[in-house]
């Protein structure tokens, strides 16, 4: 009897220790698993792949450091894909504490592909009131972002002179940890016809599936797995791919814990009966 009781009441310190080891060991041993690419990620990838050189992609940083481990690898992968195809990037964001993450990634990837600020990409920064901004950019971006994040007028950058609203932006990539993606779909997508796809944390990705099914968005990169799949498609291994073995092992362990808890529950219930 005691064994089954113990099996159903494993001390949380033991669970924490096992999970801790499950996180560390795959990272240290560099365990690898093949990554299967889902249709939702392939569609997102194709929406950039189809764009000709010189097209403009707007990337919205709608997350902060808490969701960085899931979304930052997506940002880096998307930037690599854009720069590889000579696509110009406008970076903005609706989470004030996420913008520095965008700046870090832009500087890192731009250096890899020898891209120049103002010529190949620009960071227009953050302004408060995201719903108003998303609707308002549909008419004129300068009404909200007349300067970049360093207060340099956007008209001083050649490729920005031709950008007035969503008509000149070929695709939006929203990296979402909350509900900002809804506003992008409802206002920029439904009202102005802007094409878009999203990268989202594993928790918020399910919220976006109705939009995907209604063909309001091109694709979804869901969680770290989504980042790993995108890295596989662009053939650039990053932290998404590196994190998958850890996530696999932890998922496996959680399933084992659930099974153990249920075995104990059923044995004890049968004995009581």
């Amino acid at each position: 009897m005691k064994f089954w009781e113990r099996l159903g009441a494993i001390d949380r310190k033991i669970i924490y220790t096992v999970i801790g080891l499950a996180v560390i060991i795959p990272l240290v041993t560099k365990l690898t698993f093949p990554i299967r690419v889902s249709d939702t990620v392939r569609n997102a990838y194709n929406s950039i792949e189809r764009l000709p050189a010189g097209s403009i992609v707007m990337i919205s940083i709608d997350y902060d450091a808490a969701s960085g481990p899931e979304l930052q690898p997506m940002l880096i992968a998307v930037l690599r894909h854009c720069f590889k195809k000579n696509i110009k990037v406008i970076l903005t964001g609706h989470w004030a504490l996420g913008l520095p993450l965008g700046e870090i990634a832009l500087n890192q990837v731009a250096a890899e592909y020898h891209k120049k600020y103002g010529q190949d990409y620009i960071n227009i920064g953050y302004r408060p009131g995201y719903t108003a901004l998303i609707v308002g950019i549909g008419r004129e971006i300068r009404d909200f972002f007349s300067t970049d994040y360093k207060r340099v007028p956007i008209d001083s950058f050649a490729f920005m002179r031709r950008v007035h609203n969503y008509n000149e932006i070929n695709l939006l990539v929203g990296l979402e940890a909350g509900a900002t993606g809804d506003a992008w779909v409802l206002y920029a997508g439904a009202r102005y016809g802007l094409k878009m796809f999203f990268g989202a944390t594993g928790v918020s990705a399910p919220d976006l599936y109705p939009y995907l099914q209604a063909k309001q968005i091109e694709g979804i990169l869901a969680g770290l797995q989504g980042a790993a799949e995108y890295e596989t498609l662009i053939n650039e291994k990053g932290t998404g791919t590196l994190g998958m073995p850890t996530q696999s092992v932890v998922h496996g362990l959680i399933i084992i814990f659930i099974i153990l808890g249920n075995i104990s529950y059923f044995v004890l219930r049968r004995k009581k009966e």
Binding site: I10, R12, I15, I19, G20, F33, P34, I35, R36, S38, D39, D64, A65, A66, S67, G68, L97, P100, L101, E103, I104, N107, N123, G125, R127, P128, G129, T131, A132, L133, V135, G136, R139, D143, F144, Y149, K150, R151, P206, Y209, P210, Q213, G223, Q225, M244, Q247, S248, V250, H251, G252, L253, I254, I255, F257, I258, L260, G261, N262, Y265, F266
Partner: protein, 233 residues
Amino acid sequence: MRLQIPLIVVLVTGLLLIVTFFIPHEPFGSLEQRFLIWYSIVAGFTMLLGLDSLTRYHLVRIRDKIKGWGFSIVLLLGLFITLGLGFYSWAKYQSPFTLGSPFMFLYTYVIIPLQATMFALLAFFIASAAYRAFRARTTEATLLLVAAVLIMLGRVPLGGWLWHRMVDFADLIPGTHLAGLKNLEIFARINDWIMDIPQTAAKRGIFIGATLGGIVMSIRIILGIERSYISGS
């Protein structure tokens, strides 16, 4: 009058915003843009309001030595050091987000690790909570549990690896040639089906319900039936 004027402002603004949203032509188009710019400016000032409210609240806690007042000192120090470094970096480097600025140093070595640590702790809590709470007590709980396990397997490469081992194992039975089944990736397919069909159906229902609720609440506010946002009413 103190009650009527705000109600009239809300009624007129609410109706105007609805009209300008659905009629983009002049003069409504530029009127809408003007409203949106005002909204963005007001949203900026709400941050000052938040700063004021947070500072006052914690100063009172420190003054009255309310239990945990030491944390309030840490919070205010953190708040004003961040603010100070932000302004300094803005003045000296044109933006707080410029790499190499003092604000970015603080962001990289304090804010990122703190936020990442808080979120990472979830993995441990989820593991412990799943072990304790996911018991197949009822049919509904069993459905939830099975769906959760299948999603957990299908969302990561472990599902593919497990499926391949299962096919290899079944292939050991003499006379069977099941290697072709590996391409089925059954756990990934089940994951896709759960996400595409039952999950999306449930989400859509929730969205429609929440949106109808939002519309009803907006109409109540515009017509002045819902007045809880007016202080003292």
